[in-house]
């Protein structure tokens, strides 16, 4: 490093460097502790709130860790075994995992495709482009609590405007968006698309800007139609960005909490059908304070997500060569 830095220094700096090196013994005169002092404030936070929790999550999951009881007996893998043997609340947990899987399966395709369309449109040159980009991104800065209370009102089966307008155009005006299936999923996915599509669109836009223009020119010279250009230049060019969007969206959807919590309620109407894994785990660990089993559930969920993430990178990365 020291030699590398010296080679990059400007000519005058280099001259001075030589002069000083003669008297002081080189430009690297940082104290031994200096780097650690710079690292210290962050590493304290990191150690306490990231590193220690990662380890203690496993430790807690090996105990019957009830926050409200004095003893927290070591129970080995019992919390995990219980989840797979179907005893106690395992059934409700797996039901919540299924709800999470459904939300992920329903929400990822629109969250990957619709923002791509938005990005392709906003990538064109037309008046007010930056304004439109801001509008599509804006819902994302609102936060899930605002979006949740707003959509709870919009989707209300009796006083919501969505049912009102559906009635006006001759469709059923009593659709149970907040407490019936499959309507609850459609409502939750719809509001999530509204909320986060702009985020994905901005990432796609950055990807589109990274595709060299000559590729389009070459395609046009070869007589490629607009669709062919999109299919053979744009999509391949966006592959790494798409990989990122798909992975981030799967992880975000699998962690869904606020939308159902605020729209279909804490118990996930109808009948726990939309109570997601994060809702169940928080209820188990921080509502009923059964932290041992909740930690085991967290680790199980996190492991599944890690596997999906790794699989994703392999799947999409493989076609990248």
């Amino acid at each position: 490093m020291a030699t590398q830095e010296t080679t990059r220094v400007t000519a005058s700096g280099l001259a001075r460097s030589r002069a000083r090196a003669a008297t002081r013994g080189g430009p690297q005169k940082q104290g031994t502790f200096t780097p650690y002092l710079f690292m210290l404030p962050y590493m304290i936070l990191f150690g306490i709130f990231v590193a220690a929790p990662t380890i203690s999550a496993f430790w807690i999951s090996l105990h019957n860790w009830d926050y409200l009881l004095p003893g927290k007996p070591f129970t080995g893998l019992d919390n995990y075994i219980d989840l797979f043997s179907g005893s106690g609340s395992a059934g409700l947990f797996w039901k919540s995992m299924w709800a999470t899987a459904q939300f992920t399966i329903y929400s990822v395709p629109p969250l990957v495709i619709f923002p791509l369309l938005v990005a392709v449109v906003l990538h064109q040159k037309f008046p007010g482009r930056n304004f439109f980009r801001a509008v599509y991104f804006a819902p994302y800065v609102l936060g899930v609590a605002v979006v949740g209370i707003l959509w709870r009102y919009l989707l209300d089966p009796t006083v919501g405007v969505i049912n009102y307008y559906l009635g006006l155009i001759g469709l059923p005006s009593d659709i149970p968006w907040t407490n019936g299936l499959p309507w609850a999923w459609i409502g939750l996915v719809g509001m999530t698309v509204w909320w986060t599509a702009g985020f994905n669109a901005v990432i796609y836009l950055a990807g589109l800007q990274g595709i060299p223009r000559d590729l389009y020119e070459a395609a046009r010279v070869d007589g490629a139609s607009r669709w062919q250009q999109f299919r053979h230049v744009t999509l391949p060019g966006l592959r790494p960005v798409t990989l990122f969007v798909v992975t981030v969206t799967i992880l975000a959807s699998a962690n869904v909490f606020g939308q159902p919590y605020l729209v279909t309620g804490q118990s996930g109407a109808p009948g726990n059908a939309t109570r997601t894994a994060i809702m169940y785990i928080t209820g188990e660990g921080l509502g009923r304070f059964r932290m041992g089993s909740a930690s085991a559930m967290s680790i199980l969920l996190a492991s599944i997500l890690a596997i999906i993430g790794a699989f994703n990178f392999r799947l999409l990365g493989r076609r990248n060569d």
Binding site: V9, T10, P35, P41, L45, F46, L205, G207, T282
Partner: protein, 291 residues
């Protein structure tokens, strides 16, 4: 219809490529965008209605009568739901969190970008690795840690733990590495120590990155819902997101009040987004390109 009006305008005023089809697409975009904005407009409109009007059989886009009852209700200091106190708590939390992130992340990132020391690779590797750990893992242990510190139901619980995110360090390190090193080396040769170089040369050169990180940290903290929902317990100590949830459950169908709370929670982030749009969008775009 706006669609027809726009479509009938003479095409190709500036370039010959603007055919009727182009105008039609542009009109469609405007209409679609109007639908996109409608939910947000509806929140604002509703907040100026009477509670009775918010559940009327025929909804209207212009409040009649136009009232500010929703706002005076949430501004009432004698209220069970002290929304203005929540607003203040959210400001303190978001500002405190942002400052913590800026100081700790930029210092660590500077060491990682510009210094050689034993354990550097290990530390950086560990920090980056945690970017891939689903945050649900931290939830219960961090609840217990925060409880040990006596921080449950205090703003410390929402300011500090989330500042440990690896994103800030990663983001600032990438920026520092991209800065030309010559100025720093010249200063080092002139006898300046690393602290002086960091505060007088590197940080002033890093204003765009710091602004981006500040805006993203502020928005994250302002909007954080799950964590404060569980670590903040009593009425006066909430931030706005868990507060809005409580407003929703205690006001039921008084949508004017609930939407007034929503508007209040949206104003700061929308102002920040309008003013610092470049930083927000660039920050998001850059985070994507990293992947």
């Amino acid at each position: 219809m706006a669609e027809a009006a726009v479509a009938s305008r003479p095409p190709g005023r500036s370039t010959g490529s603007r055919r009727p089809l182009w105008w039609l697409a542009y009109a469609a975009l405007i209409v679609f965008t109007a639908f996109y904005v409608a939910p947000f407009v509806w929140m604002i409109v509703t907040s100026f209605k009477t509670n009775a009007a918010t559940t009327a059989a025929t909804p209207t886009w212009i409040p009649q009568p136009f009232v500010t009852e929703g706002y005076s209700e949430i501004a009432n200091p004698a209220l069970d739901q002290p929304v203005l106190k929540w607003f203040l708590n959210s400001v303190i939390s978001a500002v405190g969190h942002t400052l913590t992130v800026l100081v700790t992340a930029s210092m660590a990132a500077y060491a990682l970008a510009r210094m050689e020391f034993t354990g550097k690779r290990l530390m950086f590797g560990l920090i980056i690795a945690t970017l891939f750990i689903p945050p649900i893992i931290f939830l219960i242990p961090n609840y217990l840690i925060v409880d040990t510190f006596g921080w449950i139901d205090t703003l410390m619980a929402v300011i500090v733990p989330t500042a440990a995110t690896a994103f800030g360090v990663f983001f600032m390190r990438q920026f520092f590495v991209s800065l030309p090193i010559e100025l720093e080396e010249a200063a080092l040769l002139d006898g300046a120590n690393h602290w002086a170089i960091f505060t007088r040369i590197v940080l002033p050169l890093s204003k765009p990155a710091l602004a981006t990180l500040a805006v993203l940290s502020f928005l994250n903290n302002w909007n954080d819902f799950l964590w404060p929902l569980f670590v903040l317990v009593s009425g006066p100590n909430l931030t706005l997101p868990p507060g809005l949830s409580q407003l929703q459950s205690s006001y039921g169908t008084d949508y004017a009040v609930i939407m007034a709370g929503g508007v209040l929670a949206s104003i700061p982030v929308l102002i920040i987004f309008t003013v610092a749009q470049r930083y927000v969008i660039e920050g998001v775009a850059r985070s994507g390109l990293k992947g």
